[in-house]
């Protein structure tokens, strides 16, 4: 009983919870900044810059605007961060899935858990009463709305595709662990022709969902002074920045688990080949898995976030909406139809 509680605590606090998210998330953000800079022929900040930024912000005093609702202003960032960290617990790392959490949340739940960080930043921004925040939250909500349709279509296609393949009684599955297990056995989903449009659509959704350039109308610094973050300073601002970094990790790792979940397969065999068994083998496998996941995350970030960032200019909010509901949704819909008719 106590051991279980301790285990849960370790999961939540260290791996794959808070500490892991903190380190990899900020690292990912640093790599992204560096990559964008290199693509634009700039030197760019050091890779550890997000860490410096975070700790510096935490050292500063927070100014609460007189018009703000102090409680909401301070709690919203923490709530968003906690929700994201918990969400990361439900995303398996190839074979490594925490059995106790496998039956807590499925794909559809994850879709809605992803809304909580967005809602918390909206609440935080709204609580300040700033007009910039008003515009920012409106744009944030529209961006979330824009991403929702393609994301839904992608998740439904994946659920149907795997459900049919494993011969589930209902013909569908929404369990992420089932999807990953299926991929470990029969190869990554990206190899299925019918799901390639869905994978592309998901890749295009990532920057929108995380609010990265060119889909960052909600935080347009040059235009509305970071929108919802306009009045934020000090540690709460740092927490929001951290949440943003973790969201990049969440989205990229979700993408990898959905479409490249089979890549970790070989590693277990490799470890067995070296001659390790039992606990040591499991530990080494897990470490290697995490490493592979991180490398893949970096690659996805490079392709899906940094590259897009480097080559495009910021879109207007109505363009973002139109883009996601036409081009990206059409791709995802194509996938759904293909999957549905068993192609």
């Amino acid at each position: 009983m106590i051991l279980d509680a301790l285990k849960t605590l370790i999961y939540v606090l260290i791996f794959p919870g808070f500490l892991f998210c903190f380190l990899t998330g900020l690292l990912l953000a640093g790599i992204d900044r560096k990559l964008v800079a290199r693509m634009q022929k700039r030197v760019g900040p050091p890779i550890l810059q997000p860490f410096y930024d975070f700790f510096k912000l935490c050292g500063k005093k927070t100014i609460v605007p007189a018009a703000a609702n102090k409680t909401v202003f301070l709690i919203a960032p923490l709530l968003g961060l906690a929700a994201l960290v918990v969400l990361q617990l439900f995303i398996p790392v190839f074979q490594f899935q925490i059995p106790a959490f496998a039956n807590v949340a499925d794909l559809i739940v994850i879709l809605y858990l992803l809304l909580i960080p967005a809602v918390s930043i909206i609440l935080g921004g709204a609580s300040t009463g700033s007009p910039y925040a008003g515009i920012g939250l409106s744009r944030e909500m529209v961006t979330v709305l824009a991403c929702e349709l393609p994301l839904v279509l992608v998740l439904l296609s994946v659920g149907r595709s795997v459900g049919m393949a494993i011969g589930a009684k209902e013909g569908i599955t929404f369990s992420l662990s089932t999807i990953v297990r299926y991929q470990l056995e029969s190869g990554s989903l990206i190899c299925k022709a019918s799901l390639i449009p869905a994978a592309i659509a998901f890749l295009l959704v990532i920057p929108g969902e995380t609010g990265n350039h060119p889909f960052d109308a909600a935080e347009a610094e040059t235009e509305i002074c970071e929108g919802m973050l306009a009045e934020y300073s000090g540690a709460p601002l740092g927490v929001f920045k951290l949440s943003h970094a973790i969201k990049m990790l969440t989205m990229t790792s979700l993408f990898i688990m959905l479409f490249f979940g089979g890549i970790g397969t070989g590693i277990g065999n490799l470890v067995a080949l070296i001659g390790l068994t039992g606990g040591a083998a499991a530990a080494v496998t897990m470490l290697l898995d995490v490493l592979v996941l991180f490398v893949l995350c970096v690659i996805v970030t490079a392709v899906g976030i940094s590259f897009v960032h480097a080559v495009t200019a910021r879109l207007k909010i109505e363009q973002i909406f139109k883009y996601y509901w036409t081009v990206v949704s059409a791709l995802a819909l194509l996938s759904l139809v293909l999957v549905w008719y068993g192609l």
């Binding site: 927070t62 949340a105 739940v109 909580i116 609580s127 409106s138 439904l156």
Partner: protein
């Protein structure tokens, strides 16, 4: 001289009729003795509270032990296979709806005590209020089609009168008149349908009708079905009757809006279920499923987009109300056990969260005197408790885990998608997509309300607002707690409330036999007797709210400890009377101005892309009663054409 044993009255058999009569008796007593405020409140409290208690006592025999209570008025039991008396019949479905109604009525009655205390004509208010409650309760517990019609008339009548109750409010009279006209078309349809059924079957008893009607097909039966269906649709306000709901909910006092939205729409849904699953047993027809799901999906989508275009708090809530009813209808139209269970679950949640939201809207109206989103703002500092309660309601309706709206919507997504996989029909997959996107649109709409009413800048007019009285907060608190509990324990709810109720939908012959004597259905209907389908409710997905909440709490606690240890809460605040420049909002160097983005303009980026749709919808909802009646007539005509072709 026979000895009358009063203890006989304590038999649970009598509870249903008592729970109906208590409301009417209360209404009657308030007319007689209601001059005094305390007496009046006591009568209303006792009537609503006792009625709820009696129904709660029925949970054990009906929901858990799976009994069905038939009750013949004056003990006139069927003779010679003919129902000659007037009957109540309480199965799990009726009791489920009865519980919803009793809860909503009780809470909104508690709220009324302080909310309506400044109105004149209070006795009349409570009379009508209890009549409305009694009407709906009578409708769902009745086992007689004509009594259902009478109850429909009573509740329509009371609802119209209550809508016009504050007749100085802009639009109250107008809304009441429109509702009366279209509501009367609906009631007349129900009456005409009832009488055509009587002509065919020579009985008005629901159970007996359910044995006779499925056997005789013909023009008359088809027309009767169309008439009854459209009649109950007007009571549920589904598209194309949604403008009436918007008008009526918006104009009525908040506790009445709770009843109209949370209770009256349920009576329509209940009627449709009784009609389609029991009386006509048409739910195994693919086209019938298609139409119900189609109507539901259209309702949920059209109404949520209409809600996005609104700038009045209560009118916006009203459109959302119908949007959520669309979810219920969609799920019920699937004709699967999971779908029925999910639909009933959502119906329950709708009563709870919509009630909560209307009550918070009432609180805002009570304190500021307006519900115009453009004129409100920044109330979270003035009304912190109301804000929290509103946020719970908003999170529930927008389907944010772990509140109840999510639990039921999640089941609906699965039910629709399972149905799609089962039938191989991609259309149901699109229904899932519409449901998922509608949920996010709902969230968008409530973000708008949150920003325009509770956060943002505080306008001058609202500076005198303060927290509402304890009585009102208590009533809202009950609903908020229920919203959370039903969200956290979906399995319990399914096991004890929605599961038994959903199973009755597929055991029609049990319903018939309980009323008419065992073996009646089989002997009368022969081979075509509805078989007792043993359907189990299975979900493919996993969602364990309690575990998730525990994990979230652990994470939040850990983060908070770290944050507090690193002086996260050591903030600089404005202490003096005058606001220092450092603490005032950033306006890009300009003077402070009131520059809040209006509620109507908040989602410009979204609306711009859909401007043609929105302007089309705006023109369509012209507000002319003739147009709405025309929609009703067209809907009736379409339903008749459908029924004549298919049934």
């Amino acid at each position: 001289m026979s000895h009358i044993n009063l203890l006989y009255l304590l038999d649970p058999l009598h509870f249903p009729i008592f729970s109906i009569m208590l409301y009417f008796l209360g209404a009657f007593c308030i007319v007689l003795f209601g001059k005094n405020r305390i007496v009046r409140n006591c009568i209303a409290f006792v009537a609503t509270g006792l009625s709820l208690t009696l129904l709660c006592l029925l949970i054990k025999p009906i929901m858990i032990q799976n009994a069905i209570l038939p009750y013949w008025m004056g003990y006139r039991v069927p003779a010679g296979g003919y129902a000659i008396g007037i009957a109540l019949e309480v199965d799990a479905l009726s009791l489920f709806f009865g519980l919803l109604i009793a809860t909503a009525v009780f809470v909104s009655c508690l709220y009324s005590f302080s909310y309506m205390s400044e109105d004149d004509n209070e006795p009349q208010y409570y009379t009508l209020f209890l009549m409305l409650a009694g009407g709906v309760m009578g409708l769902v517990l009745s086992g007689d089609l004509f009594n259902m019609f009478i109850m429909v008339e009573i509740l329509t009548f009371a609802a119209v009168a209550l809508t016009a109750f504050r007749n100085r409010v802009t639009g109250a009279l107008e809304a009441a008149f429109k509702y009366l006209v279209v509501g009367c078309i609906g009631s007349t349809c129900i009456l005409a349908g009832t009488i055509i059924l009587y002509q065919q079957a020579h009985t008005l008893n629901l159970a007996q009708l359910a044995t006779i009607i499925p056997l005789c097909k013909g023009t008359n039966i088809s027309i009767a079905f169309a008439l009854l269906f459209i009649g109950f649709c007007t009571k549920a306000f589904i598209v194309p009757f949604h403008p009436l709901a918007a008008d009526a909910h918006g104009a009525a006092p908040a506790p009445v809006s709770v009843l109209i939205s949370g209770v009256l729409t349920k009576s329509g849904i209940y009627g449709i279920i009784r009609l389609a699953y029991f009386l006509f047993q048409t739910m195994n027809l693919g086209t019938m499923q298609f139409w119900l799901v189609f109507l539901g999906s259209v309702s949920m989508f059209v109404c949520v987009t209409m809600a996005l275009a609104q700038h009045d708090f209560k009118r916006l809530l009203a459109f959302h109300s119908i949007s959520q009813i669309g979810y219920v209808l969609t799920a019920i139209g699937l004709a699967t056990a999971l779908g029925a269970s999910a639909g009933l679950y959502h119906a329950m949640n709708h009563t709870l969260f919509k009630g909560l939201l209307f009550l918070t809207a009432g609180a805002v109206l009570h304190e500021t005197g307006t519900t115009d989103l453009g004129k409100l703002g920044g109330l979270s500092k003035k009304m912190p408790h109301t804000t929290v309660l509103f946020l719970i309601g908003a999170a529930s309706i927008s389907g944010i885990p772990p509140f109840n709206g999510f639990a039921s919507k999640w089941l609906i997504y699965q039910a629709t998608y399972e149905k799609a996989a089962e039938t191989g029909n991609i259309g149901f997959a699109f229904v899932t997509i519409v449901a998922l996107v509608t949920s996010t649109l709902t969230l968008a709409s409530f973000v708008k309300v949150t920003q325009s009413v509770f956060f943002g800048q505080l306008p001058k007019e609202c500076e005198n607002a303060k927290e509402v009285s304890f009585g009102m907060r208590f009533a809202m608190g009950i609903l908020a707690v229920l919203c959370t509990i039903t969200g956290l324990f979906p399995n319990m709810v399914q096991q004890y409330l929605t599961g038994p109720a959903a199973k009755t939908l597929f055991h029609v012959s049990r319903y018939i036999n309980a009323m008419m004597g065992s073996g009646y259905a089989e002997s009368t209907m022969g081979a075509s007797a509805p078989e007792a389908a043993t359907r189990t409710i299975e979900t493919v997905g996993v969602w364990n709210p309690v575990n998730w909440l525990m994990l979230l709490m652990i994470a939040l606690l850990a983060i908070c400890i770290v944050a507090i240890a690193s002086k996260y809460d050591a903030v600089r605040e404005n202490k003096s009377e005058k606001v220092e420049a450092k603490y005032s909002l950033f306006y890009g160097g300009e003077d402070t101005v009131f520059s809040q983005v209006g509620g109507g303009d908040l989602f410009w980026g979204f609306k711009h892309n859909w401007r043609h749709y929105f302007s089309f919808m705006h023109d369509l909802h012209s507000g002319i009663v003739n147009d709405y009646s025309l929609w009703a007539v067209i809907a009736l005509a379409l339903a008749m054409v459908y029924a004549l072709i298919v049934l």
